[in-house]
């Protein structure tokens, strides 16, 4: 063992190479959310607290519907990426960590697609 270099001992053992991909993807969703969160927020606070017809009218507008769909897609991906880092930082028990990481992906995907479905149903009605 003492004859092997550090590089040889760690090669193929871990997450080397994956970190940059995750980091890069998180910057991508962050930048995407700058215009998306602005375009989502203002129609949403206008629709909130109105009646059924008014709310649906706002989201039957193609711009509002497309923005809401993109916001859910990019937003929940960004949430998944952020929560993943939090789990990796604080949960050290391997089985618990694995279960939480899997649950995180499934929950974020489920909410993203539920939101997208709801907006599409309103927009296509």
């Amino acid at each position: 063992m003492q004859y092997r270099t550090d590089r040889q001992r760690i090669t193929g053992l871990g997450t080397a190479g994956e970190g940059v991909g995750h980091w890069w993807s998180q910057r991508l969703t962050s930048i995407g959310l700058v215009p998306l969160s602005l375009c989502f927020l203002f129609p949403f606070v206008r629709a909130l607290g109105t009646d059924f017809e008014t709310a649906r009218e706002i989201y039957s507008h193609p711009f509002n519907a497309v923005v809401a769909i993109l916001f859910f897609a990019v937003g929940f991906l960004h949430l998944q990426q952020g929560v993943q880092v939090v789990i990796e930082d604080y949960v050290h028990d391997k089985p618990t960590r694995t279960v939480l990481l899997l649950a995180n992906v499934l929950f974020c995907a489920a909410f993203a697609f539920t939101g997208i479905f709801a907006v599409a149903k309103i927009a296509f009605a």
Binding site: V45, A47, L48, A55, Y59, A118
Partner: protein, 130 residues
Amino acid sequence: MADVNRGNRPLSPHLTVYRLPLTARMSILHRFTGLGLGAAAILVVWWFLAAASSPSYFDFADGLLTSWLGNLVLFVALVALWYHFFNGVRHLIWDTGEAFEVSTLRTSGIAVLVAAGVMSIITVVIALWG
């Protein structure tokens, strides 16, 4: 392990007595608001699902979200959103390798807090009278 016996000396900085600087507090708050916004996003999806369902279910969901408790929760989420938004932009600027001088960190931190507060108030005004 190098030098296991470190002697009976006090450790510093000790997290329980160490006053965290503004940058550290804002870093923690960024994570905290991110997690909170995840919970708020679930409420928003629920509202959309109600709007896609029926008038009576929409009235129930929308009524709950605009009750005094719902408004309070959404206001906290709004402040969290603007904070996470502006501090996120601050992070993106840091990613370019700029603005790491200690005096700049303090200025940009205060700018984020002020911008988040101002935009929260503007959004509430738009939501109520827009």
